[in-house]
């Protein structure tokens, strides 16, 4: 079975802190994704990576950056956390060169910024 793990289930940070969210997948997938999920808004794509060191902006990249130095690891970085970044963050991976393939999601990280 494909496994996508995220470094923390719950995280509490202060406004202005630099925050790292880590995601690791064990199936050699090319594509990795970061989403945030908010009540009533569903899932919104933050960033997408289709290869090591490659990244593309999603719908809401402002305030975020990403890093993919190794194929299995995709990190989401909040350079200076703000309260409006309090949310559930979900990482996903998929095989193939496009996004028509099944995506495998991690359990999510619930981030609270105070």
């Amino acid at each position: 079975d494909v496994k996508v793990t995220q470094s923390s289930r719950y995280l509490v940070k202060r406004t202005g802190e630099k925050v790292f969210l880590e995601c690791v997948q064990d199936m050699d997938h090319e594509n990795m994704f970061w989403y945030r999920q908010d009540p009533g808004l569903g899932l919104r794509l933050i960033y997408f990576s289709y290869d090591v060191k490659m990244k593309e902006k999603g719908d809401i990249p402002e305030g975020y950056s990403v890093s993919r130095e190794k194929k299995e690891r995709f990190s989401l970085i909040l350079e200076s956390a703000s309260t409006n970044q309090t949310s559930m963050y979900l990482c996903a991976s998929s095989i193939g060169t496009g996004d028509t393939y099944e995506q495998y999601f991690g359990p999510g990280t619930r981030l609270t910024v105070t």
Partner: protein, 109 residues
């Protein structure tokens, strides 16, 4: 980007067939339609994907009319464990993924 519209919630009883419809009027030629299921405190899980006509797997069927401007997820004989949020996803190629707001399905005994 193709936006999607789904009902906010639906109620059903155990043993019934449930149909959830998603509207995607601006779907592009190369877009696929995918449905995901999400339980509380878990990430979404893939259910089914299709491009046109009908697709069936062991858990659901997906009906897509010829104009592809809508799709219907059909869950046969639901049980209490099918209570979840169901997302309709339209996209294809690159990062142009669009999730709907999701439909909360509540199955009652």
């Amino acid at each position: 980007l193709a936006k999607t519209t789904q009902p906010i919630s639906m109620d059903s009883y155990e043993g019934q067939e449930v149909n959830i419809t998603c509207s995607h009027n601006n779907i592009a030629t190369n877009d696929y339609i995918t449905w995901y299921q999400q339980f509380p405190s878990q990430g979404p899980r893939f259910i089914i994907q299709g491009y046109k006509t009908k697709v069936t797997n062991e858990v659901a069927s997906l009906f897509i009319p010829a104009d592809r401007k809508s799709s219907t997820l059909s869950l046969p004989r639901v049980s209490l464990s099918d209570t979840a949020v169901y997302y309709c996803l339209v996209g294809g190629g690159g990062n142009k993924l669009v999730f709907g707001a999701g439909t909360i399905l509540r199955v009652k005994s």
